[in-house]
Subunit: 156 residues, 6 copies
């Protein structure tokens, strides 16, 4: 499953990622497609394979309620995967996540999605509910990732 | 003063701590006993020695007001100490703390407790007030710690 | 342009910065002058050169609206620059910023100021809106910085 | 999987069910165990088989968030099944459900549980969010069921 | 005890009741006198016999507090009795009640009144709290009744 | 005037209608087009004939205010008509309506529309204001209908 091109690119004048010694720091990632400058609002904004994976039901009311957080969770974690691969690593190299939510009732949905990206050893994790994120109140989640990727282990 | 067994264990599918080079990253720690799955609500939920140390007064109204934040502050910092010791270090190796409060009026109480854990050189510190933490609104504080613990200095 | 002496000094029992291996961690910095213990409230609380740089207009209503966030943004970033120089580095060594706002409508003002401090490669960046910061609701922004400053590159 | 004895019994002076011609009307059912007079608050208040069926994860934060609505949904639907069986019918005879929620964000969880009780033809359904239900704000859902159970088809 | 003439008459273009087969459906009934178009506000708006029956105390504060809900409960149930008798039945034929409250703290008062109308077998019952009813926020309760009244049993 | 195809189809795993003896029960109907999965938001989302019938003025402010509830009322009642016709009956067979509003100030608009669908004998009616409906707060009205449609009278 590949992300639409452009995901993970910085939306403003900041770096998507920076290497510092054996570490790679990522900017906080939000569910916004930087090319179309649109916020991921639900299942309709992510690829079909992801929709299946996340359990889209096809029932309007259920999908309308759980679609936004499931799709945003997937988009953000997929963007992190894309970014760390661009830096020469892989998802398992991301060893720390700080997760900001607009509503912690969304946590179980996010947690279900995160397990798909971390079948093995999970990262350390911090979770808090904040009052808003950029660019608007439609953003339900932002995730800041830190990876440990010793230069000697680069995957190329 | 020893923590009830189980404190510091992760409450979900995430790691309590991860070593990366000379650093040890801890997950955000909340005042929840993972074995009984109960939130620390006041002096009654922490050991007697800790209650004395924190200045429990025995006066109902005073203890009811300051008990929750004092007990939660102690429990969280004690969990951090327990976790870093499990990783082979000690409290002074924890060199950075990010502290999330539900109400910054609680900061003076927390600050008093933190000094008990850091008689020497203090860590760098970030403090913000967020709107909620997991698992519920009864959680008043969450602390994310980072330690520097070169492999060569491991205490065993 | 030099900061009033005292800026960047810790306001409580925490360290302004700590070195750990090749990294320098800074405490979250707020727009408070630690010597006078006053919050930066507008253009009148920062040096004249900074006011010019930030585009003070001299029109009352405009300056009253954008002055607080512009002055606080400048003060916080200048404090970070002062601190990292004290640690032997310079602004470009600061490779990660976590920025907490009380109101994300202020972001464009802050972003304009940050560009003045980062004419070259920008840091990685995380931005969230929180409900309050220390010491009071007048604080509009807090920034936590991380620098990579290998011992071999120290500027002395 | 059998419900603890007592479920589905009326909690006050009203009938659990009344036959009228070929119809059986049920009182609105809330997630309260009438014998212990306690509200179902989470997975810990329902049988182990049900917890497995509903997907309890064993992760504290996730279960603390989704446990209450999943357990209440199961308890209410199981009480309806118990009641209609007491009236001589079965779940598929229940052809209409009016569902009251305190928070419609819970709908996807309830919907998932309802499918377990209706593998075949579903009932007609009305869903609204109300401001509170008896006996307290901890009740997240109430369901009123209507069954069509011609006397000629009684299962005994 | 007889209701003022006019009670139970529809206030708008809808039917007070409709027969369908062996069932009689009633519109939701509110405590409004359709002739004077006034809302029942307390003991002063219902007949003296009803006031005695409901336990009016003559103490100002008590009656002011419990009078509105007691009088409205009585008026609504009396209107249901009046309507079902007009349809040829009696109160015991009403086998289902859906009761909407503005404040569920009023439930015990209503429940006391309902027992006066149902000395024998009670109806099935659904109770929820909604945010408002017609025609204004002074309406504390609305009750929708369903009766089973086989044509063969008609009381004439 | 014909409804866009698809209206009246269930939006989730529930039945649009179920026959039980001589009765037909309909699910609660909301103003959502199930094919496009979009909420009816105003005059622009309903057919031109309906707009004329409802009294669209062409004045922006007036139409923007009364358009949403008029269009949603029409769409919901038209969906009921469509559904009962699918079941072999007609609007006059629908003898009971339970109407949920988000704001009872909208009642006069709805009432005006309902009269267009019921030129003859009206149904019994219950009206309450609830705090929200599926799938989102944009839904202003939901209507649950019950029809009496003896098999012997089926229109085919």
């Amino acid at each position: 499953m590949s992300l639409e091109s452009g995901a993970g690119k910085p939306l403003a004048k900041y770096a998507a990622w920076r290497r510092a010694g054996d570490f790679v720091f990522l900017s906080g990632i939000i569910p916004v497609n930087p090319q179309s400058a649109t916020i991921v609002r639900g299942f309709q904004d992510i690829p079909v394979e992801a929709r299946l994976l996340l359990g889209e039901t096809g029932e309007f009311s259920t999908d309308a309620k759980q679609g936004p957080i499931l799709a945003q969770s997937w988009y953000v974690l997929e963007s992190i995967r894309y970014t760390i691969e661009e830096a020469g690593g892989q998802m398992s190299d991301v060893i720390k996540l700080v997760q900001y939510f607009r509503n912690l009732d969304h946590f179980p949905y996010y947690s279900r999605v995160r397990k798909l990206f971390y079948p093995g050893q999970p990262p350390v994790s911090t979770v808090v509910q904040v009052s808003e994120m950029l660019p608007s109140a439609e953003v339900l989640i932002e995730v800041e990732a830190t990876a440990w990727l010793p230069q000697s282990r680069l995957t190329q």
